[in-house]
Point group: C2
Chain length 456, copies 2
């Protein structure tokens, strides 16, 4: 039992990592163990993620025998296969056997067939059966998140009976927060928090202490919906049932928190056109694989914008100042589109943007686009008139193009994700590139088109 | 006790909102109550967020008397002040009195002075003192997140003594997951999960059941660091101490989950140049206030790019095709910069990018930038040569500019947030606009500059 108040990372952590590197380089196993032993598994996983691949494999060769299942579980997915491949089968088996079934499933998911088999064989028969049942649920479903270890009690029990049962029972889960009340066919009927159980008399009936609000989900429910339920209803754990309504397991809030975090990451990375599995510990090859596709798509869409511009070759040849001014219109549209898009993607993710308020939000975006268009049209129109000389018409052209492009941008920023969402696609998917292309094309076309009509 | 499996939002929810709207329009208070009564407070808050301001005020006039403190607590901050302003003081007082102190603090934070006073006066004396003590901690600190209601036991107690105490004690918190062990001076020394207490014998000593790993934080710790601890160490609750090490309260995981969610939202919105308080239920005025500043800054930076282009007026006049091609170079740089930036901002937020691996990540980004620059330089060089005629030198110019810009973009995407972070600024703040401007300027300058040297 130690009180740790050190959360100032940075300095202290860097010194520790340097010491660990030195111990690995010196091949000093005793020193390495002394350094790693006091660390939380999550922090050991962080150390493995922060050092170079060669250092990692040297570290594992020196210390791998003492690795803990929790460390594997905390490790970034992009490194797990590499680390598991470097462990002795016996060590791996030992490490995995300590874990709750949901953590085993989480590790198995990302492994290739032979490595999966290796781990399954290491488990005891009933754990293996539980893991295999979870793996039978679709990827990213409630069934994959749940742990099989749950604490149940018959509906008719009293607090005293439940406490006596818990005292006699070995193999309870590491952490549990509720006793789930079940009927004789193992269908969950409610749950009692441990706090209420502890503060009630021994003869109180569990059914009378059950929480008012009780939800269960089916194993097939997508994990994003599960995470939403935890966040919306402040749940701590959520029982999972099979198709017949029988209890199959329970999901705890730490798993929901991870899902929420991964969903965030996916949204951010997808909007930026980065593969959603990107990680800071990826090598150059992996990073290129994640990024080249969207750069390639952007090369094509940028060529569309270029095509639009080249339609107006003659106009630009006549008034070269247009070439300098046109990216301003496009860039303002890009920013306005990104602003509107980001708010919409986020609101769809948190389910604050729904069919009930979509029309209102679309109108708001259009109004905001028009008003900000007007404001910046005035500013830019006057700047163009002042600095790029010519008559007042150049200012009028850039101003009008600005209004058009900012209105289209704000509108597209909310309509594109809404349409993707309606089509059951991820609203974050590529909307960034799409909105940017649109605002570029509209920006160049409206500005150069108006210039051709008005200035020539 | 009801089993709810309905998480299919959309259809069912829209019908409900339409029914609620109809009841409000008809002034049918009984029907409105019948519709709202079965809903979870979080869902009632969602209804309030989804309807129009006028409907909201009509709904509150009809039903406001029955509003629950939880509904206020669940409401989006942007609406809270509006809703609170429409409630009768007596109703508000009743609603607030039911809440845990951390929820009261959360509501108070966003209110103006007179509304704060109104709520403080509604509280009982000891709750008011607790709330005022929390409010004395800085904004966004652990002290503001904690609830004062905690369950403690002396270090020397047995399980039996603790259970007897809990049974006799009224006013326990709604939800608690641990008993915190304290020394005679109220300094926390460890904690026991309720699960372990329930499964141990009555004569077991609490100190022997305490969790291996035990952390406390000081009330001044920033909430982002608190959320990090919960995520990293899978905590359920975290005791908060004052400067003298005495127990001041405890933070529970649902609060940490909210902070994590808000931090993520802030990152996304800041990167997009949207004020971090943006909400989908904001009106036009509020939305403009959030978005105009960054659009204004972008207008200035876009004019810098325009200035760079106008340096090459003569070159463009001589070869008009350059005007069409130059946005391609800038746009590719923009995408590459955004990709690298997003991964870096995210990794800084999750603390995966640290001083131990920063150098390696910077080198990786530079390598990735150079390789993808080479690949797209070849593609685009050949396309330019094929479609925009002229000699092979136009292809060579656009290719070289592409390599330069993609390398600079990838590098800037990681260096800018690292520098902001080192300066103790939020890495997400404005890095989007900054990186975009940089890639535009470098893109235009390198392309037009090379063209001037090579093609004229």
């Amino acid at each position: 039992m130690s009180t740790e108040n050190d959360t100032t990372r940075g300095g202290a952590e860097r010194i520790l990592i340097d010491q660990i590197r030195a111990a690995v380089e010196a091949g000093d196993a005793a020193q390495l163990t002394a350094l790693l032993e006091p660390l939380h598994p999550a922090d050991i996983a962080d150390v493995l993620e922060q050092i170079r691949p060669q250092e990692r494999s040297d570290l594992l060769a020196l210390w791998g025998g003492e690795i803990d299942g929790e460390v594997l579980s905390e490790l970034d997915e992009s490194l797990r296969e590499e680390v598991i491949g470097q462990l002795e089968p016996a060590v791996l088996a030992g490490a995995v056997r300590e874990l709750d079934t949901d953590d085993v499933v989480d590790i198995l998911e990302d492994l290739e067939e032979p490595a999966q088999e290796l781990i399954l064989e290491a488990l005891e028969a009933d754990d293996r059966a539980a893991v295999e049942q979870s793996m039978a649920y679709p990827e990213y479903s409630a069934g994959r998140l749940m742990q099989r270890e749950v604490v149940t009690a018959p509906l008719h029990w009293t607090v005293g009976e439940a406490i006596d049962y818990l005292r006699e029972h070995d193999g309870l889960p590491d952490q549990f927060y509720h006793v789930i009340l079940v009927d004789p066919r193992m269908r969950p009927q409610g749950y009692v928090t441990l706090g209420r159980m502890l503060s009630a008399r021994r003869n109180a009936r569990l059914a009378d202490l059950a929480e008012d609000s009780f939800r269960t989900v089916e194993g097939e429910m997508p994990e994003a919906d599960v995470a939403y339920l935890f966040k919306q209803y402040h749940l701590i754990s959520l029982p999972v049932v099979d198709a017949a309504g029988r209890l199959a397991g329970a999901i705890t809030i730490d798993d929901a928190l991870n899902v929420l975090d991964e969903e965030h990451e996916e949204d951010m990375l997808r909007m930026a056109g980065v593969g959603e599995e990107s990680s800071i510990s990826d090598g150059v090859g992996e990073t290129l694989k994640q990024r080249l596709p969207w750069l390639g798509i952007n090369l094509l869409t940028a060529n569309v914008s270029a095509l639009v511009i080249s339609l107006f070759d003659g106009t630009i040849a006549a008034i070269v100042a247009l070439a300098a001014l046109m990216p301003i219109v496009a860039s303002m549209g890009g920013i306005a589109g990104t602003q509107s898009l980001t708010v919409a993607v986020r609101a769809l993710a948190t389910r604050d943007l729904t069919s009930s308020n979509a029309t209102r939000v679309v109108w708001r975006e259009l109004t905001v686009g028009l008003i900000s268009g007007l404001i910046f049209a005035l500013c830019m129109g006057m700047m163009a008139w002042a600095f790029y000389g010519r008559d007042i018409w150049l200012g009028a052209v850039i101003g009008s193009a600005m209004i058009i492009n900012l209105a289209v941008a704000a509108l597209a920023g909310v309509v594109v994700p809404l349409v993707l969402n309606r089509l059951k696609l991820d609203p974050a998917l590529a909307s960034g590139t799409f909105v940017m292309t649109l605002t570029d094309v509209i920006g160049f076309f409206s500005f150069l088109g108006l210039a051709t009509l008005v200035l020539l």
